[in-house]
């Protein structure tokens, strides 16, 4: 249960950063926190008490008490996707700084409704 609290704590902190902060790098950090929290949540969904890792590294392991491998596979995918998004976001941040000389999204308002 503590794992759930930790995971959702990270997600909530990340969302708070995204809603309150206006600095772009800070917002990207927020996205990274959300993704980390999500990964922790998915893994803890697949956990089984007293379970073992789903790897037959030595003989005599009981497949019935292994933890669920599917969330782990999902998280591997999710980690790579989040790295991809972060890399794009950082590239955009560098370009934005080059154009405007600031990273404050509140000050960058060329486009309005």
């Amino acid at each position: 249960m503590v794992y759930y609290i930790g995971a959702f704590g990270l997600i909530i902190i990340g969302l708070y950063v995204l809603m309150v902060k206006r600095n772009l790098i800070k917002m990207i950090i927020g996205i990274s926190l959300i993704n980390t929290g999500l990964n922790l949540f998915l893994i803890s969904v697949g956990f089984i008490k007293l379970g073992t890792a789903p790897i037959f590294s030595k003989p005599g392991l009981n497949p019935k008490i292994m933890v669920d491998p599917l969330p782990q596979a999902m998280v591997l995918t999710a980690i790579v996707i989040s790295v991809a998004t972060l890399a794009m976001a950082l590239a955009l941040a560098i370009r934005l700084y080059e154009h405007h000389g600031t990273l404050d999204m509140g000050k960058i308002k060329d486009q309005k409704w």
Partner: protein, 233 residues
């Protein structure tokens, strides 16, 4: 004011999550699908590492998408930085200290080897193409730390990326030809636990390892800021 609204919103959200989390007890086996993988994974795929079996065989199509996402990230990354202006007054970076440079030169081949080991043994032990690729990229990060002015050929990176991506798809299509299903494991599965076993899994993981390694290295390479390579629009 903004903070109060944010906190109120987040409170509502946490209450909602709390309600829905009640039906997902922690630490209890919940799924039939996961059990099936654990019970039949070795028999079906020949891989000792069930996570690898799921990533590359049961859900190999996801992994194809994932590889594409990383490819896209590099593409987008260089598209965005492509039109970047060249800075005129770019002072030379300070050379690294002696300890760093000798240490990195010494470590570089070992880290590289470790990365290759990780992705070749992906079906036997924890690890695989993505982790191994990341380790390879960190080896190159060390290399760039020592020699910040070192140029690398972007063309060759791109070729490696697209060739290994195509190799993944071609293996998939071969599976369609020989096994009637896209990405089916058409090679003999061998004895579980041996290095050469599990059919197409080691093969795909090698390609993924090379691809991920070169992609992440490419991202680091572009971020390390070699302004002499950036083209002016």
């Amino acid at each position: 004011m903004k903070k109060i609204i944010a906190i109120l919103f987040l409170l509502v959200l946490s209450y909602g999550i709390y309600l829905s989390i009640n039906s997902i007890p922690f630490g209890v086996s919940k799924t039939k699908v996961g059990n099936y993988y654990n019970l039949n994974g070795v028999k079906d795929t020949g891989a000792n590492n069930i996570v690898t079996a799921v990533v590359l065989n049961y859900r190999g199509f996801d992994t194809l998408g994932e590889v594409t996402v990383l490819f896209l990230a590099v593409l987008g990354f260089s598209t965005i930085l492509f039109t970047m202006k060249k800075k005129k007054s770019d002072n030379m970076p300070t050379p690294p200290s002696l300890i760093l440079s000798i240490g990195c030169k010494f470590l570089f081949p070992f880290v590289l080897l470790f990365g290759i080991y990780i992705f070749i043994h992906g079906h036997l032990s924890p690890g695989g193409g993505f982790q191994g690729g990341a380790v390879i990229a960190s080896a190159f990060l060390l290399f760039y730390l020592v020699k910040p002015s070192e140029k690398s050929s972007k063309k060759s990176f791109q070729l490696i990326e697209s060739l290994s991506g195509m190799a993944f798809i071609v293996i998939g299509i071969l599976g369609l030809v020989f096994g009637n299903y896209f990405l089916s494991n058409f090679l003999p599965k061998g004895i579980a636990g041996k290095l050469i076993s599990a059919g197409i899994i080691p093969l795909i993981y090698i390609f993924i390892g090379i691809k991920v390694g070169s992609e992440l290295t490419g991202i680091i390479d572009r971020l390390m800021g070699k302004n002499n390579e950036k083209q002016v629009k």
